[in-house]
Symmetry: C2
């Protein structure tokens, strides 16, 4: 049984590694001939807009899924006329455009930041008036890892961005005061069965995720339930199948939805070792219509992203229950090239292990030394 | 960094899956063009005796290891003139020949069955006289999964085997009365660092491993220490690097060494989910000279071998914390085509999960219903 995956980066790589034990074969489509999955699976190099290539790609596949949410919706729909495509293309459509995403949250009664769409420079002042300052101006599409975002704190910032106005559809969101950033990984099977991983605390630097702690420190039942309720609403609304990630701000004990990704997610990498079933295996189980795996999470995990550089493997592996994941990508600044997961029985032991990490990690870029962001729960 | 692996069966397959996250590449050598690793790694199809192919194979490799202990020692030595080969060819030599193996155990003061070598039919009577009945006549080489073994209980059995005498070097061993079969997986790194997994209880049918329980039920500290002492002696004597498996009979609370395998082992498959570091990852860490990973084993695991047939995947995956491993081999009677691992917090819960397994498994072939073999510990 061969699964087609759109996108051949590290998420696809880890999907394949999780899927081989289930007896699955994989075929990847990626515009880059350097996509790291080429080493371990069949890789087709083609643009997502090349419909002839897409039709050839789907031939013989059981189903198609994606590891990259900026696959053109048109490509997903084109494939869906031949084989099942999960998550449904509607989920792609909602997640690719911040305005659609916000409107979906609003429609489902999910707390989110207030927002206004900004289609041209002339609309910015009205939007600022509506939303107030501070605010964040974002491109509606293709933003990731903090790219395509401008924080506007003062009217001077507004004037500055107007001078060099981005040539793209935009959205202005109010800048919420939050205590920390959390995310939830949710899974829904084709039969409607759902499972949820515990909320994770995420720390970013320069817009890029650097450190996740799972479960989030001081996670209480009501916060977890609030996260699951939000996820459940979206999963159901989109008749979803697969893993869905939702990022939140925690504001005075309440969750404010920021954005979602209709795919496995960087803040779920800890689940490879930290949970009974990884997000990657559960995504495959879900899209195949198999029973979902247990998301039981004994102990606590920390996931540290390796961006553009890798540590001495031996120094990482010397730490008990430390796990190294390299994606086989060439090292370039700003590029996610691997991650490290540390596991421990409880948060106290985990903090001890974080302090045991070699000098390579003991830097502000890694959000170390770790200060729990959580103040009031 | 590319690792060469001799043998391209399921053990190699699982080594590669464990090694990819460490950033390793793999090249396999196997005489069969059907070897399942071909799907996920570079595979060279050649005989182990083809020295030209061997020399070509090692070119550019970091080191060579094996997943199959009947690789000709000559092939291992030939490669060792070009790149490091771990475990050392001496370990292959000791493990390939039951007589060498027994002599090694004897030399190291390790309790084992009494034995006599039988080079021709005419030597059998003297050997029977020395060892007594019941006894087991075994081929010295190439025996596996119970093949090449004849149980001799009476003089009639002796007469029968003499009539159709095997054309091979043989060894006669006394048939020990044992309470159960156990095994230990031990790892030694290139720097001499060692780690041990807990003793595992193994159940065979028709000479093939069907069920392992890890840790072995009612495992006490002194039995575990006895197993580790035996393993430590062998590891040190052979200046070993990699995973070594040793099979024991438990006789009235004492361990009697039966045989060893200088490689990852079927009775260690549970470690993929059941231990902090799998036997596969630890083998790679060991041969690379990396720090060994933690062998901490929270809870209890059961591993069931799939021989020649596979169950409905959905029925297995519906059980919480059940993990399916298919090797991508075509189904043939007697062939190991996959395994299932069940995890639980304790033995009682594990027994409950074994009873939840679908009808496919509830058969004598799977050693179910499970009766702990252990009577006196």
């Amino acid at each position: 049984m061969t699964i087609g995956i759109l996108g051949g980066g590290q998420l696809g790589y880890m999907l394949a590694l999780a899927g081989y034990p289930l007896g699955l074969h994989f075929r990847f489509l990626d515009p880059s001939p350097e996509a790291p999955v080429g080493r371990i699976a069949q890789r087709v190099t083609a643009e997502y807009t090349d419909e002839e290539a897409l039709e050839k790609f789907v031939s013989g596949l059981e189903l198609v899924t994606y590891e990259f949410e900026n696959v053109p919706v048109r490509a997903a729909r084109c494939m869906a006329t031949h084989v099942p495509v999960y998550p449904p293309p509607e989920a792609l459509e909602a997640a690719q455009d911040r305005l659609n995403e916000k409107r979906l949250f609003e429609k489902l009664g999910i707390a989110t930041t207030s927002f206004a769409d900004v289609n041209k420079q002339a609309e910015l002042d009205a939007a600022v008036k509506k939303i107030g300052l501070p605010a964040v101006l974002k491109t509606r599409r293709m933003g990731y890892d903090g790219k395509g975002q401008w924080v506007l704190r003062t009217q001077d910032d507004v004037a500055a961005v107007k001078k060099d106005f981005p040539n793209a559809a935009l959205i202005l969101e109010n800048f919420v005061e939050f205590q920390r950033e959390l995310s939830i990984l949710a899974v829904r099977g084709r039969s409607g069965e759902t499972a949820f991983y515990p909320l994770v605390e995420n720390h970013h630097r320069g817009g890029i995720l650097r450190l996740s702690i799972a479960p989030a420190p001081k996670l209480n039942k009501s916060l977890q339930e609030a996260g699951e309720r939000v996820a459940q609403k979206i999963l159901q609304e989109l008749n979803y199948a697969g893993v869905l990630a939702i990022e939140f701000f925690e504001c005075n004990g309440e969750l404010v939805a920021n954005e979602m990704a209709p795919r496995v997610h960087n803040s779920g990498h800890w689940s490879i070792e930290g949970s009974a079933t990884s997000q990657f295996e559960n995504h495959l189980r879900a899209v195949l219509g198999m029973p979902l795996g247990s998301t039981a999470t004994p102990g606590v995990s920390a996931m540290l992203n390796l961006i553009g550089e890798t540590p001495e493997a031996a120094e990482v592996l010397a730490i008990p229950d430390a796990h190294l994941h390299l994606y086989g990508k060439s090292l370039r600044p700003g590029r996610k090239v691997g991650h490290v997961t540390l596991r421990a029985a409880n948060l106290e032991e985990l903090l001890k292990k974080l302090r045991m990490l070699p000098a390579f990690f003991q830097r502000e870029e890694f959000c170390l030394p770790f200060k729990p962001a959580c103040t009031a729960v």
